[in-house]
């Protein structure tokens, strides 16, 4: 793998450069009257309509995780990996339900982060901080996952990782991230919103070509499913059981369903997804996008099938074995062996740019959280808008360095488990963030204690679960009462039971509760405050 293909490399380099230019140019796109406001840097001025929101959310939610880890899981375990399809089907009806309420209350009260909403809803600094820390902690491995995506492309191209020197090996990744950090710092959310258009062009072209061209070269779908099935039925020497199955077995149905449901419930409370939702111009934009975003789900389903195509390609299997059995290499290797080098270059670009967009949005979302819920809440309650924006810009840099550390230090064989660990944590904020959109019944201390118990339970369970050659954090599913269940679901149920029980107790002993800063009308409010509406209205009312 030491030989670098010049054509593929040239195409990747040109697309990376174009995206860099677009990223920096985005600072001048839809210019704000006063760019030094967190609304502007962190939410793109809260002015994105249906069209831009579609690209932004699509670019945000369907990440390098999609392109690398999902087919890798399908490549390794078969049908079980398709839970990602089921999960991204369920997520849209779910966001349809609560997305508009969250958007409305955030618009009415000027909230930029989910932490601020919880802080305002319960008048509780502690609960706001809990949600904030969880968000930042869960986002870090998610950004790292994007880096792992870039890494596997670079590895297949023979860049970097073939060098024995650790510094040289990581250099391309570090350079890519420094540039990403540069335009995110300058342009804020406008940069990923604009780059998302390019990202999607690359992804749609790659997927359509792959799904038509590769099966014809491999002898059709019958051969692909046949080869996959033959592999999955064979016995894994490490476990003494088959590698997987072509259709989920009855014993695996519960794990499949809970993984899909847990991931779907978690997705839209991730800070970066909330950022995408809050950047919408109107309440209706979110519902309309819930109907239009499933187009990406279809693409995800097709991408998952790339895992089987990789399995049916002997050269890919040899390459994965040569790479130490790293299934993450399967899709880049598939492109390398099946596509002419220029098309492989486009495929690599799709993955790399597909990693940059969400990484940018995630670091912005985490920076918003830090600024509003830690810096302003604890250190500078009277910070000006300009100070807030400056702090957020710096925080986005720190997040990226942290994620780089995460990516370079941790085991990368199953990067999907990193994200699933983040999912376990983030789902523990579901009662405080989502259920609170509907009811203020819970007591703030009960929610905090429930959250702490859920996080502790989930982390310990994940720690105790071996798998993938590791003793700890090997998988995110564990048996509960005889059913193998996604740990996040079990943990959030424990969390809810504690929160409900303690709320009853605290209400009974009349423990003082916090002040609710929101009003019922906030949850169905639409349109912008008059000033913003006037500025944006001229655009939306144009024929």
């Amino acid at each position: 793998m030491s030989h670098v293909n010049a054509v593929s490399f040239a195409i990747l380099a040109v697309s990376f450069l174009s995206v860099t230019l677009i990223g920096f140019a985005a600072a001048r796109w839809r210019p704000a009257e006063d760019p030094m406001q967190l609304n502007e840097w962190g939410l793109g001025g809260r002015g994105f309509g249906t069209f831009i929101s579609w690209f932004l959310l699509g670019g945000d939610l369907y990440t390098a995780y999609t392109f690398i880890a999902v087919p890798a899981l399908v490549y390794a375990t078969g049908a079980a990996g398709f839970y990602a399809l089921s999960y991204t089907i369920m997520v849209f009806p779910i966001v349809f339900l609560f997305g508009p309420r969250l958007w409305s209350v955030a618009r009415a009260r000027g909230y930029v982060t989910p932490g601020e909403f919880v802080r305002g809803r319960y008048g509780s600094q502690g609960l706001g901080l809990a949600v904030t820390l969880t968000g930042i902690l869960a986002t870090m491995p998610y950004i790292a996952l994007q880096l792992v995506g870039i890494e596997s492309v670079l590895a297949v191209m023979g860049l970097g990782t073939s060098s024995g020197n650790a510094f040289v090996a990581n250099l391309p990744l570090v350079i890519a991230f420094v540039i990403l950090a540069g335009y995110t710092y300058l342009a804020g959310l406008r940069a990923p919103a604009l780059i998302a258009f390019v990202k999607d062009a690359f992804i749609y072209v790659t997927v359509i070509v792959a799904i038509i061209y590769i099966p014809s070269r491999l002898g059709g779908w019958a051969h692909i499913f046949g080869a996959a099935s033959a592999h999955l039925k064979s016995v894994n020497p490490a476990t003494g059981k088959p590698f997987g199955s072509l259709v989920v077995l009855p014993s695996g149905e519960w794990a499949y369903a809970t993984l899909a449901l847990g991931s779907a419930l978690a997705l839209f409370i991730y800070p970066h997804a909330v950022t995408g939702v809050l950047a919408a111009r109107r309440r209706d934009v979110i519902r309309r996008n819930a109907a239009m975003l499933p187009a990406y789900t279809l693409v995800l389903g097709l991408i998952a099938l790339l895992g089987y195509m990789a399995r049916a390609t002997p050269a890919v299997n040899a390459g994965v074995a040569a790479g130490g059995g790293d299934a993450q290499l399967s899709v880049p290797l598939l492109f390398q062996h099946m596509f002419p080098s220029w098309m492989a270059g486009i495929g690599y670009s799709a993955i790399v740019i597909g990693a940059l967009v969400p990484a940018a949005i995630m670091s912005i979302a985490a920076a918003n959280l830090f600024t509003r819920n830690i810096y302003k809440e604890l250190f500078r309650p009277h910070a000006t808008q300009a100070q807030e924006t400056r702090v957020a810009q710096l925080a986005s840099l720190v997040m990226k360095v942290g994620a780089l550390g995460f990516a370079l230090e941790l085991n990368r064989t199953f990067s999907i488990n990193l994200q699933l660990l983040g999912g376990i944590w983030i789902l523990q904020t579901f009662p405080a963030v989502v259920i609170s959109l509907y009811t203020r019944w819970f007591h703030r201390f009960a929610l905090i204690i429930g959250w702490a118990v859920g996080i502790a339970y989930g982390t310990i369970e994940a720690y105790r679960t071996p798998g993938g050659g590791q003793q700890h954090f090997g998988a995110s599913i564990a048996p509960v009462f005889g059913h193998t269940t996604y740990i996040a679901i079990t943990a959030v149920l424990v969390n809810l039971v504690v929160a409900v029980g303690l709320t009853l107790v605290f209400h009974a002993v009349r423990l003082r509760d916090g002040y609710d800063h929101t009003r019922p009308a906030d949850y169905s409010a639409d349109a912008a405050p008059p000033v913003v509406a006037a500025a944006r209205g001229t655009v939306s009312a144009a024929p």
Binding site: L85, P93, V247, A291, P294, D526, A527
Partner: protein, 87 residues
């Protein structure tokens, strides 16, 4: 405030929307529905083509719910006076 009741508050609309969204979620959540290999569509086992086919079903369900919940009178206002409505 002098608006006709927004669609969110009409019980029939709310009921229909809830059912549509629950069916959309259920079709993916209830795994035994599709954890089988037959009937095949072309060379695709049922497990795969069902899930891919369920995607547009969910999109249409969400689209219908969007249309049902749309605040019509306000949208007419929105196009004439620049979105400054619906307080």
């Amino acid at each position: 405030m002098a608006q006709p009741a927004p669609p969110d508050s009409r019980p029939i609309v709310r009921g229909v929307v809830t059912v549509l969204l629950l069916v959309a979620i259920g079709g993916a959540l209830v795994v035994p529905i599709y954890a089988r290999s037959r009937p095949k569509l072309g060379d695709f086992p049922f497990f795969y083509w069902y899930q891919l086919a369920w995607v547009p079903v969910v999109a249409i369900a969400c689209g219908l719910c969007y249309i049902l919940l749309r605040t019509k009178p306000a949208r007419v206002d929105a196009s004439t006076n620049g979105g400054e409505v619906q307080q």
